[in-house]
Amino acid sequence: MVAVGVLVAFLALYPIAWLLVGSFRTGTPFETGEFTWGNYVDAYSEQGIFRTIRNTFVFAAGQTAGAVLLGTILAWIITRTNTPGRAVFEFLTLVLFLFPLIMAVFAWTMLLSPRRGLINIVLMAVFGLEEPPFDVASMGGMIFVQSLYVTPLAFLIIAPAFATMDSSMEEAARMTGARTLRILGRITLPLAIPAIASASVLLFVIGLESFDIPQMLGAPKGIYTYPSLIYHAIGVRYPADYGLGTALAMSLLLATLALVYLYRRLTRRSERFETVKGKGHRAAVVDLGPWRWVTATGCAVFFFFTVFLPFGVLVLGSFLGFFGRFTWAMFDRLTTANYPRLIAHPRLIDAVFNSLGLAVIGGAVCVLLAAVVGFVAIKSRLPGRGLVEAFAMLPISFPATVLGLALLWAWIVVPLPIYGTVLILAVAYITRYLPVALRTVSGGLIQMSNEFEEAARMTGAGWGRTFWRIILPLMRPALAAAWLLMFMTFVRELGMSILLVGRGNAVLSVVMFDYYTSGEQGLLAAASVLLMLMILTVVIIARQVFKIRFSQFGSA
């Protein structure tokens, strides 16, 4: 127990301590340095820094608005109406949740780039436009793509609020003469406000932290947000500007810490509200009459544009040497050459191997650690259990780029062979996503009656044996769900990996990112198709074997 506490505290605090030190000292981690305030002064007199601040907030706010709006609509339709095909739409929300952002960006570039984008070409032809109407590589485009793909996160928080709503609240409104729309506006939505508010705060944090889309869509056009500017300072500039990177990272960290604190306060209140209600009943379904075909069509269109069309474009792209401008003639150029090229690519095999190893083994270690922490925090009466949980939850407010930079610094300065290996990636992933695993595991622990484990204690089992023989087996569904979530997260992780990957520890996401930046469209598309098939296979197997439901993932 003490060991677990120390380990968890070490994982969270050690890298951040070095980041803090680094931000107040001169020089790179490889050199000795002295104390200075200069990094912050320089960072905030950097040219364009105020545009970066504004960009970061506009991006975070814009994608929050988009995702919360879409997530609320989707959650209501799926949980509370008799829209046909709701189960399918719920599954597609999960697919959307798993859709790697790099693939989404790539697909949407092929759909919305000014000259080559399919949608632009179609719209110009249909409406006889002179100019392409959309440019995905813009603030608007960044917000648009990001909103679509973080919608499932908003859904995860808001849907339970709808699903467990006391439907007699709405029936009471009907009895007074109110119709469906007015009930929705005056009763249902206001009752969901606490969940919508927490979703908004959480998504705003996610927007501040986001690396993938700002980097891939914004940075090439000079539109930076904090995470992409941090990466720019460390990973692009030569020589690397550690002063700028660490000062920006500390600033961003302060912002996310404050917001996550706000989020925890908001949700704690709503959780208390829920336990008072107690019963896990499901709210009644609203009969939409003929309107249910409208909602079904809306969902179908949404998933067509977010899942099927991008995936179709990727499949098509994987059979083309280069995508270029969309023309019918491209179908004459179809080739299967990308796949053999991909497999022959020397870095790729290593990267796939490393990614799978990290996802499978690293994911399992992370879930096991989460199970121990959850058990200590929820089931034990040990003193200090609250502190252990607090340390374990702390990294939820560490932006990936920030933690990546912190770990980089922290492990360069020690003379252990960790920096530049797969091990540092494992440490990074486990540290950053332990809170997410912990939430999923805690869901299972809270539902489990204390009496199982009390009975074990009464037979004379100590807490170690009780944990291995009773708690772990009983928690299998929650553990499986958590592992699946870790697997999916680890294979896609880019924000930390890109700072920590060197010559010997390539992972799939970084290799794909390199394909993206070097314009290897055919390889990127082929790799995307393989990655998506891999993810879907694991999800479908896990759903069959462990009966995992999307809702078990809880809110990150």
Binding site: E171, A172, M175, T176, G177, R186, P190, L191
Partner: protein, 353 residues
């Protein structure tokens, strides 16, 4: 005038038959109660009247208007039925003040602002909540929430009022108080009311008319006194406090055979020769000294005797049958005592078995 009637009202949930072809009629201004054990279909019946549940079969008429008829395909939606309803959980909207909750139905009817204010004030005064108008529901006690629910249900002058176990979430003392208040209010407004409960005391105390339900059927309808004194079946009898049952065979209209004894009875409802059940309330069983003479006297042995303050509960073995008597408090009976057990003829009912 009839305010509400149902004809052959039926509801299936999948294969469960929740409500089985019930018929009832409620006169204008009356308070009618559905009384029955858990799961007998009371809530389902009420919700079908409200329009929140679609009946599988049957017809519902509200005043002159047919609001549901399966055969003719008529189904007026709940929001157009003008029915006030108080839910078991109260369903007070937590994001609106007390006044906001009560004003909501009037807003839907697009009344002018000052008219709404006036009527909200009036109805809150009626339920004695005028001083809490600006409070939020979370700051109210259970009884106060109950009054808000009631005010919200009657403020738009509905055609009838439905109440689903409105008192079951209150503690015993408050329950009795609210019972009286609701009845008083209902009579003052002359509002036709349909009330659901599984508490027989509540049903008897408040109603003009009681309908006892069992397994989806209405088994007896009548004024409370008739239900209490003249239950038509063993099920209803048990539900309203008749606890002693003796199996007999009728000899003629005034005599029944209990084992090898003859008992005097008043049985004008059953044919001679039929099997029947005698029933008597515990407070009507007379415990006497052994060896006394007279009609309907059974030899008994005391099994247990519990002093309750106001009376003594004596469990007896009377001629091989178990009986419970509520004897006067001063009765002293000990386990194993031989006693005489008298069952006065005017206190007994004869039911079909």
């Amino acid at each position: 005038m009839v305010a509400l009637s149902a004809h052959q009202l039926t509801k299936h949930f999948g294969t469960t038959l929740a409500v089985d072809a019930v018929d009832f009629t409620i006169p204008d201004g009356a308070l009618a109660t559905f009384l029955g054990p858990s799961g007998c279909g009371k809530t389902t019946t009420l919700r079908m009247v409200a329009g929140l549940e679609r009946p599988s079969q049957g017809r519902i008429t509200l005043g002159e208007e047919v609001v549901f008829d399966a055969a003719q395909g008529i189904a007026v939606p709940a929001e157009h039925r003008q029915i006030g309803m108080v839910f078991q959980s109260y369903a007070i909207w937590p994001h609106m003040t007390v006044a906001g909750n009560v004003a909501f139905p009037l807003g839907i009817r697009r009344l002018p602002r000052d008219e709404i204010d006036r009527r909200v004030r009036d109805v809150l005064a009626l339920v004695q909540l005028d001083h809490l108008a600006e409070r939020y529901p979370a700051q109210l006690s259970g009884g106060q929430q109950q009054r808000v629910a009631l005010a919200r249900a009657i403020v738009f002058q509905p055609r009838i009022l439905l109440l689903d176990e409105p008192l079951s979430n209150l503690d015993a003392k408050l329950r009795e108080e609210m019972r009286g208040e609701i009845r008083e209010l209902q009579q003052r407004l002359g509002m036709t009311t349909l009330f659901v409960t599984h508490d027989q005391a509540e049903a008897l105390a408040m109603s003009d008319l009681v309908a006892v339900m069992n397994a989806g059927k209405i088994v007896q309808v009548g004024p409370p006194r008739a239900i209490y004194e003249r239950p038509v079946s063993r099920f209803v009898a048990e539900f309203v406090g008749w606890t002693n049952f003796l199996p007999v065979t009728l000899v003629d209209r005034t005599t029944a055979r209990l084992g090898d004894r003859l008992m005097q009875v008043a049985a004008d409802n059953l044919a001679p020769g039929a099997a029947a059940t005698l029933t008597i309330r515990p407070e009507d069983v007379v415990v006497e000294a052994a060896g006394a003479g007279g009609p309907n006297l059974l030899p008994g042995k005391v099994r247990t005797s519990m002093f309750m303050g106001t009376h003594t509960i004596v469990e007896l073995d009377a001629a091989g049958h178990e009986l419970v008597a509520h004897a006067p408090a001063q009765t002293t009976a000990n386990r194993g005592d031989d006693v005489g057990v008298r069952l006065p003829v005017e206190r007994m009912l004869v039911l079909s078995p």
